[in-house]
């Protein structure tokens, strides 16, 4: 019984991390129509930056904030200097993000070596919290709460603010949005930075559970892809639902069929593609 509960908690935690990762991916894809293949690298970079910052004496949360901002700045540079030059050439943009992800991975290997880097759990959140007769690891609960908080904040941003309305307009019909006087190219930069920031931040708060190691980028990227294929691109709700579905499938799959965890992950994606190719919450394909 308690094994299942532990698995469920782990699933919710992974789901929360995946939501932070895939929400940005999904927004970028929805708005700019490019799968940003550096997204896994942003996640990994966030973790590495935070590990170094903490080593230099910064606290966990300030480090999380700063490394998120560093990754966002990097995302902005990539968008402005590289992707902007290739505007309209979607294929070229995909390939450039792939090339960049290899470069980032190799630089990380050089700087932080091949050994996994651990990030310690912040002091206040170590240990367990007892609810009724069950003991939950406090930090995992905290991650779930943070993810829920971000989901609410992102929903408010997208649904209640002027910026959110502009982004939604850009996702639905970039040409009409442009005609209506929205500077869609500036939205690109904002959304790309936001997505990078979310990914970097997720990498930091995922650090104490996953630790940071070479190959983490290529491990997280397909998970984000599956989330977006499941949930539908450009939809926050889709990312949220998709993340938790993937979180549960991955953890339970790994526990029950350790050799086939990836295949278990693959089945719902297959089902969604056959039954509803635009994803559970995606609009009909343009």
């Amino acid at each position: 019984m308690s094994l299942w509960l532990v698995l469920a908690v782990n699933s919710v935690t992974l789901g929360g991390l995946l939501f932070l990762l895939s929400a940005g991916f999904s927004l970028i894809f929805g708005l700019m129509r490019i799968p940003n293949l550096t997204h896994g690298s942003f996640f990994m970079l966030g973790g590495y930056f935070a590990a170094s910052l903490i080593e230099w004496g910064l606290g966990f949360w300030p480090a999380a904030l700063v490394s998120g901002l560093l990754v966002a700045a990097l995302g902005g540079v990539v968008e402005r200097l590289v992707l902007r030059r290739l505007a309209g050439a979607e294929l070229a943009q995909v390939l450039v993000t792939l090339g960049l992800s290899f470069m980032i991975a190799d630089v990380c290997l050089k700087v932080w070596t091949g050994d996994p880097v651990r990030i310690d759990t912040p002091r206040g959140l170590q240990g367990v919290t007892t609810v009724g007769s069950f003991a939950f690891p406090t930090y995992r609960l905290a991650i779930s709460l943070v993810a829920v908080g971000f989901a609410a904040a992102l929903w408010l941003l997208m649904d209640r603010t002027r910026l959110g309305a502009m982004i939604r307009a850009g996702v639905d019909d970039p040409d009409m949005a442009r005609v209506a006087g929205i500077r869609v190219s500036r939205l690109f930069t904002i959304v790309f930075c936001l997505g990078a920031w979310l990914a970097g931040f997720a990498g930091v708060i995922g650090g104490p559970i996953l630790s940071v190691y070479p190959g983490l980028d290529q491990e997280m990227l397909p998970l984000a892809l599956v989330v977006v294929i499941l949930g539908g691109s450009g939809s926050l709700l889709g990312s949220l639902v998709g993340s938790f579905v993937v979180g549960f499938l991955y953890n339970f799959g790994q526990a029950m069929f350790p050799e086939l965890a990836y295949v278990v992950l693959f089945l719902p994606m297959l089902l969604v593609l056959v039954v509803r190719p635009q994803g559970l919450f995606g609009r009909t394909a343009v």
Binding site: D106, L225, Y262
Partner: protein, 327 residues
């Protein structure tokens, strides 16, 4: 003139083991040819159908792993090769059905092929009872078709050359055929093609199968060349490298992928002798080619050449920018 050049190129290629001077160079020649087969297969999709796949290393891996398992299970080479190719085709059919399902074409295709490719990698890495996990599978010996042993590098090179020429010929025939024309039609004007009564989905599906078949053949060559296969062969880096071959040489051209394969294999072998950061170089080349020479080396060099000639001959001429070379 053209035929003469072709015959000369063929003679040079066939005689490579005689002039290359050393096993090392003969093996590099074999590698170039086997990756050229792979790149030619991918180019059918990327170049002629306009569908970019990042999951083709998965198909290569399926062929290699199936054959390796069957060979180690005591089956003959013929059975292993036939079953491996059959399974690869079946997998390609499944991949194609899913990937073409996404948004029909374009970017959804990249994402889905990438996700499927990573799943194949996950299976190769994790399903240890079948794939032996990270340790990979070794096979005993290379086959001896028609009584000729392929154990020596030169013999293996010649066998690879024969397969390569078959691949090149099949793609050349495909491109010149009505099917090839309709495939390019679905790349450039899918809606118009559908309106004209072509079954766009079926054309793409068949192109995927053919591309999968040559990827499978490349997988078998890969297995016999290395006599070993591990999850590394299936990783995203492998798919990306193959895509780089196609794009660097020039996608949608017949010889582009071959030039690209030679470029990447030579770079990889030369670069790895001097620097250990091959992945960084790979990524940097990717970025540089996409930004500066998006049409690839073969058409790109042709364009620069034409421009240079235009500068020296001051007469009005048709601007050649952005057009695909007629072929």
């Amino acid at each position: 003139m053209r035929r003469l050049a072709l015959a000369a190129a063929l003679a040079v290629l066939a005689a490579l083991p005689l002039w290359a001077g050393g096993t090392f160079y003969i093996n590099i020649g074999s590698q170039i040819l086997l990756y050229a087969v792979f790149a030619l297969g991918i180019n059918i999709l990327v170049g002629y159908a306009g569908l970019v796949s990042l999951g083709h290393a998965g198909l290569l891996g399926i062929a290699a792993y199936t054959a390796a398992r069957l060979l180690n299970g005591g089956h003959g080479h013929l059975v292993a090769v036939a079953l491996a190719l059959a399974l690869t085709l079946a997998a390609a059919a499944l991949f194609a059905t899913l990937a073409l399902r996404g948004s029909g074409s374009g970017i959804g295709f990249v994402m889905i092929t990438l996700a499927i490719g990573q799943i194949v990698w996950g299976v190769a890495y994790r399903w240890i009872s079948i794939t032996n996990g990270d340790n990979g599978i070794s096979i005993g010996a290379r086959p001896s078709p028609l009584g000729l042993s392929l154990a020596s590098p030169a013999h293996f090179y010649w066998a690879t050359l024969v397969v390569f020429l078959a691949a090149l010929g099949s793609v050349a025939i495909l491109v010149a055929s009505p099917f090839g024309a309709s495939l390019r039609g679905t790349r450039d004007q899918p809606r118009r093609m559908a309106a004209l009564g072509y079954h766009v989905w079926m054309i793409r599906f068949l192109a995927f199968l053919l591309s999968g078949l040559w990827s499978g053949v490349a997988g078998l060559l890969f297995l016999y060349y290395n006599q070993f296969v591990s999850p590394q062969a299936v990783a995203l880096t492998a798919s990306a490298e193959a895509l780089l071959m196609v794009i660097s040489g020039g996608s949608g051209t017949l010889l582009g992928p071959v030039v690209g394969a030679a470029l990447v294999v030579v770079m990889k072998n030369v670069a790895s002798a001097y620097i250990e950061r091959w992945n960084f170089v790979l990524g940097a080349i990717f970025v540089a080619i996409v930004v500066f020479m998006p049409e690839g080396l073969v058409p790109g060099a042709a364009r620069l050449w034409r421009r240079a000639i235009l500068q020296w001959t001051p007469r009005p001429s048709v601007a050649a920018s952005g057009e695909r070379p007629a072929r």
